[in-house]
Amino acid sequence: MNVWRLVRPYAMVAPSIVTFGVFFIYPIFYMIYLSVHSWDFVSPEKPFVGLDNFAELAGSREFIEVLGNSFNYTLMTVSLTIVVSLFLALWLNRKGVLYGIVQGAIFSPHIISLVSVSLVWMWLMDPQFGLLNWLLASIGLPRLEWLSHPDSSLLSLVLVAVWKGVGFNTLVFIAGLQSIPSELYEAAELDESSRLTTWCRITLPMLSPTLFFLVIINLIGSFQVFETIAIMTQGGPVNSTNTLVYYIYQYGFRFFKIGYASAAGVVLLAVIGLLTLLYFKLLSKKVHYR
């Protein structure tokens, strides 16, 4: 009986811990191990190659381009999403049936599969028969090539990501706004502070934890973009929408350069690790402020 008491907590967490260990933690180390080996998936041997894979990555123009695409995509997606959502949150943060409906409508893409979202937008962005070009033409603007031209392809993907993510971000912002104690606003009103001063001195600082949080999770999320690319562009045209995860997928599953793909994975790990660290740093600060 006593032994069971001692063992019980471990037995209770075991299924979860084993799952996390086997499928999430161990693979990280395995990937790092693979990144310093050369392997084509079939050969029985995996010779150790040191940092060769990383040197090859650094020397590959394609990879540098992919990194650039990932950064561009991420920066554009995150800044647009945050700015638009913050604006929408300030606008829509009101009670009432109408506001509820609007909030529901802008949130709805968030629960739709990325497959569906990608297919619908591919169709909307069809250069010949798509609705978007019809809209442009009907207000006298030139048609765009959207996904089929390297100058607009990445931006088109950004547009889709912003459309899908803005509702979720807006509602998180609204939750943040509503958690600001109303006494602060009452005090500001007593002091006859202007709307701008109230916004700068109360709303923004009180909202900053939510803001930091959203920026970080959007950064991490955008860096992992895969689905829209796999369905809408396959990395093209001329590599203009090839980003990190899609690159890893291509080299791992099409060209079977496991070591090389793992090295690219380690680069992604470094980026996500850094952002996570930053997040926890900010989180601990947030606790201090309160």
Partner: protein, 275 residues
Amino acid sequence: MPVARLAFKAANFAGMLLLVAVFVVPFVWMVSTSLKTYSETVLFPPKWIPAELRWDNFARAWNSGPFLKYFLNSVIVSVSILLLQLVSIVFAAYAFARYQFRGQKLLFGLTMITLMIPGQLIFLPVYLLMSRWGILDSLLALILPFSSSAFGIFLLRQTFKQVQEELLEAARLDDASEWKIVFRIMVPMARPALVTFALFSFIAHWNDYFWPLVMTTTDAARTLPIGISKIREVDGGTAWHILMAGNMILVVPILLVFFVAQRHIIQAFVYSGVK
């Protein structure tokens, strides 16, 4: 003054209408396209309401591949994951919230780290692992890695911690077993959190495209999102009407659930964001 107020109200309303249109029109367009003939999809300027509603597009989409198989796979995978997760997170969250044991901090830290590891980061090594075990291209490969959820443990642990200690003491005095405490006191008290988690988990895995794409190579274990994305070429060109009809099969169930439980779902996802 009342005129200015009225104008402001009108502008505000028009703005909201436009905003809703941006999010709803793509769905309307999808529905409209799914009921057209091929020649109607290539009309420019486009037509919003097809001359004749082509319901047979849905049958054509469904019959363009083994869709019953895809559908069943999707149901089996999402439901198994949900059931496994519910069991594993209830026990883990209870242990983390209510017991003190050696290594607790370390194990909870491990759980929190997992929360930050996306599938997109570790799919390659996990793929190799699965291939070594010979379970690639099977439903197991889609289910096993998600038999527990770090987010679920986190969420439930918070809830379990709020249950008053006196309640548990009283139950223990009555000689209630820990088993009874978990299922008679903890679980009922955590019902809202469990519903929240269940909605979140089911929608996420029903929609998932990435993991099944990476782990399957034949139709044996493919799920609905993969199947839909494969309807591309019918009749030579891209058959948008068939593709959108297929897309409806994927979207409509989720949208229906959303209409019924909108507030719950929004709360679930926003909470998963805020933590």
